[in-house]
């Protein structure tokens, strides 16, 4: 099964990359883009047909390796 993990900075944590991208977009004329937050995105191939198991494993992996719990939070989806 394929799991997708989205890792984003916690809302209270400053995202300099997102801010810099917004500013670039504004100078490029995209004034309607109000805010950008940048995160990481992972696609995991998990060898199981049990989607609950895949989800649990992806969450565990996100917890231990993919996300930095001090500043980031994550979300898991199974596709």
């Amino acid at each position: 099964m394929r799991a997708r993990v989205f890792v984003t900075l916690k809302p209270s944590v400053f995202d300099p990359q997102g801010r810099t991208i917004v500013e670039a977009l504004h100078t490029m004329g995209y004034g309607d883009v109000g805010d950008v937050r940048q995160g990481k995105y992972f696609e995991l191939e998990i060898e199981t047909t049990d989607s609950a198991k895949a989800k649990a494993m992806a969450a565990e992996v996100a917890d231990k390796l993919l996300a930095n719990p001090v500043i980031e939070s994550y979300r898991v989806e199974i596709v």
Partner: protein
């Protein structure tokens, strides 16, 4: 509102401190004011435990342009130029989030330097971690090194030197000390002062968020189970913003439209407004509603206490505001007027016109509490200092012991770390990392600056006074080994909880040792930083003063490195050797012991040695110089060979006076201070020996460079005979091998 004890506790204020606040104010402070007091009276900002000791440090000399008290110190380096430098710790934040903690540490010290009007040209760092192979260390090492690289590389300041020590004592409390040096015209040094009633107070840089609120008080409290809850939002560094700030500020400073400028570091807006006002004998009034904010609904309390990074406060001359604003605009930064200078000596904070805090600057700075905390020699000391040499059986295999030491992560090559640092940007770096002191040339002159950061926690644990003096001596000696004359020093004092008399004793002793050494070596202290409460669950780190010394090469082309330059040169040992194995890397690594007393230090002899080195370099009488420290003369000789395209060395050493089973090991690995290995062209040996004799420095020919093996004899007997290439492989791969293993 009535202030209950819980509120005080959360702010780290003691009941008697609160009473002092009420007495000064003549009324009960409100919550915003409590917050302001709490950060300004925190250990981090007020130096309340350390101040009485720091006062004893020598801070003057004809070379000193700016001593402690400003954002950084400055020394005269000739031709109308000043070197501006300082060291700071970011230990606690780096433990919580290694990458961002280290990165923002770099960002902070860089701001301290350009705030003074100097262009930063070099960075160094001094790091302490637990054993490299212990669980958890790798994550910290990876993160801290990447964080230093991430910030320094991006902003374009080379990281040219540093040190990393691994010891289980730092497992729960790593140390991240960062040093920065900048250059300015001596006449252009700018201070963090506010003056001139009505002058505009400007805010520029990143917007203020809720990050790091109470960072200063956190840095003043030890870690325990509960600190997880106290964790403030981690600060994220933005090197790009800081690069813009750096360029814009330096451009603004050239206009002379500024009265003063200061970065917002620990305690943010609170500390910068108060300190600028108090240095200028003025007051500052600001309105927090005018402060650019990243989050909505921030209270004046939060705005005043935020520690968001990459922000500066400046006071502009009246009538010059437009000029200042235009320069910041060019760099896409918006300088915002948030208040003005007053003449009443008050910090007055308004929010949309309403006064929300009003405190005399003096109450926050000069009148902050000063403690003469009780000191008591630690209980562990008598036992730890006892070392019965008769009971220690030598390794029996000096070659194996040498290999053990060369592969000790503390001694092994730090190439893995520093190749992640851009150490060449700005095209000034003359001594690449790993060759001894970091050396940068000063463009437009013939001059160069050499710098080194050093400290030995194990020595300080066993004798903080001598250990700290040894650190000063070593840093200055490293600079002298590059051929530079040591000019001045900065220091970062990393200790445990000062409320414990044993820790306070370590602190007092260490400062006394630093003072003594700095006086004797004529390297006044121009600034520094104190980091206390380096403990986890009541277990303190080794007392670890880190010393940064800066020295001057009047002729950059006289620069020396540790490396042997060619075969057939004569190897001369400067200084005397003794059976001083106490607190050595040898004892720790080969025997698993941290015991004894650190090597003795004769400061007169040390001074003579350093003077000699500078003279020899200036007269081009020697080709290389390397000081003996961790691992003793055997490791030193091996390191002289490394990176020299495999040149070997053959020496014969006189045995030191030691119990017979220990004699060979002690000769090879004892860490007697004030020793340097130099290599000399055969035709110049007599002259070198005569120069040494003239200054009273013991000097002895011990061998010759050449071949491709390291051959060491003690008392006429060859005890080490290894291929240079093999030894170099062990040394250069030791750290890489451990870090290459996959993290579990």
């Amino acid at each position: 509102m009535s202030i209950d004890p819980q509120v005080l506790e959360r702010h780290g204020l003691k009941p008697d401190e609160y009473e002092r606040i009420v007495a000064f104010m003549g009324r009960e402070p409100n919550l915003t004011e409590i917050g302001i007091f709490s950060v300004m009276w925190s250990e981090h900002c007020s130096y309340k435990s350390s101040r009485v000791h720091l006062r004893t440090l020598p801070t003057e000399g004809p070379q000193v342009l700016q001593g402690p008290g400003e954002n950084a110190g400055a020394v005269d380096i000739g031709e109308g130029l000043a070197a501006v430098f300082k060291i700071e710790s970011h230990n606690h934040p780096s433990f919580i989030e290694p990458y961002q903690g280290a990165a923002t540490g770099v960002g902070g010290i860089i701001r301290d330097i350009f705030t003074m009007g100097a262009r930063p040209i070099a960075l160094m760092n001094s790091l302490r971690f637990g054993a490299l192979d212990a669980p958890g260390t790798r994550r910290l090492v990876d993160g801290v090194v990447a964080g230093i690289a991430g910030y320094g590389n991006s902003i374009g300041i080379p990281t040219i030197a540093g040190e990393i020590v691994f010891d289980p004592m730092y497992a729960g409390n790593p140390l991240v000390n960062v040093f920065c040096l900048g250059i300015s015209k001596a006449s252009d040094i700018i201070k963090g002062v506010a003056s001139g009633v009505g002058n505009g107070v400007y805010y520029v840089g990143a917007k203020t968020g809720r990050d790091g609120i109470h960072g200063a008080t956190m840095a003043s409290a030890e870690f325990d189970e509960k600190s997880a809850e106290k964790r403030p939002a981690v600060q994220v560094g933005d090197p790009f913003m800081e690069k813009l700030l750096l360029e814009a500020c330096l451009e603004v400073m050239k206009t002379d439209a500024l009265i003063g400028i200061q970065d917002m570091g620990a305690a943010g807006l609170t500390c910068s407004t108060t300190e600028m006002g108090s240095r200028g004998g003025a007051g500052i009034e600001i309105d927090t509603a005018l402060v650019p904010q990243r989050e909505t609904g921030m209270t004046p309390y939060e705005i005043m206490l935020s520690e968001s990074q990459e922000r500066m406060l400046l006071v502009s001359k009246q009538g010059r505001e437009a000029e200042v604003e235009a320069i910041f605009e060019k760099w896409d930064l918006h300088a915002v007027r948030i208040g003005h200078v007053t003449d009443d000596g008050m910090l007055r904070v308004k929010h949309q016109g309403q006064v929300v805090a009003e405190i005399p600057n003096r109450a926050l700075t000069d009148e902050a509490p000063v403690y003469r905390r009780p000191m008591e020699s630690p209980a562990y000391l008598p036992e730890a200092q006892t070392l019965d040499l008769e009971t220690i059986v030598g390794s029996g295999s000096p070659e194996k012991a040498l290999a053990t030491l060369l592969s000790s992560p503390t001694i092994a090559s730090k190439h893995w770390a520093y190749r992640q640092y851009d150490h060449m940007v700005q095209t000034n770096t003359m001594n690449l990392p790993g060759l001894g002191a970091g050396v940068v040339r000063i463009k437009g002159t013939d001059r160069a600056l050499a710098m080194s950061v050093d400290g030995n926690g194990r020595h300080c644990y066993l004798d903080p006074k001598r250990g700290a003096a040894l650190a000063v001596a070593e840093a200055a000696r490293n600079v002298a080994c590059a051929g530079a004359k040591p000019l001045a020093a900065t220091n970062c004092l990393n200790f445990g909880n000062p409320e414990r008399p044993a820790i306070m004793w370590q602190f007092g002793q260490a400062v006394a040792g630093i003072g003594e050494a700095c006086r004797a070596l004529d390297v006044p202290i121009t600034g520094g930083n104190v980091s206390l409460y380096n403990e986890t669950d009541g277990k303190a780190i080794y007392p670890t003063p880190i010393i940064g010394v800066v020295g001057l090469l009047e002729h950059a082309d006289r620069l020396l490195t540790r490396r042997f330059q060619r075969s057939g040169d004569v190897v001369v040992l400067l200084g005397d050797s003794h059976c001083e194995v106490g607190g050595s890397e040898y004892l720790a690594r080969v025997h698993g012991l941290v015991r004894g007393v650190p090597p003795s230090l004769d400061l007169k002899a040390e001074r003579a040695l350093q003077d000699l080195l500078v003279k020899l370099a200036e007269a081009r009488l020697i080709r290389s110089a390397h000081d003996c420290s961790d691992g003793g003369i055997a490791v030193t000789l091996a390191e002289c060979c490394f990176g020299s395209q495999g040149i070997g060395v053959e020496v014969s050493l006189m045995a030191v006076d030691a119990p017979s089973s220990l004699q060979v090991d002690a000769t090879l690995f004892a860490e007697s201070a004030s020793r340097v290995v130099v290599s000399v062209d055969g035709s110049l040996v007599t002259e070198v020996l005569q120069s040494a004799a003239a200054l009273g420095v013991p000097a002895r020919v011990i061998g010759e460079t050449g071949g491709n093996r390291i051959r060491l004899a003690v008392a006429g007997q060859i005890v080490v005979d290894v291929a240079t290439a093999d030894a170099e492989r062990i040394w250069s791969q030791a750290i890489e091998q451990v870090v290459a293993q996959k993290v579990a």
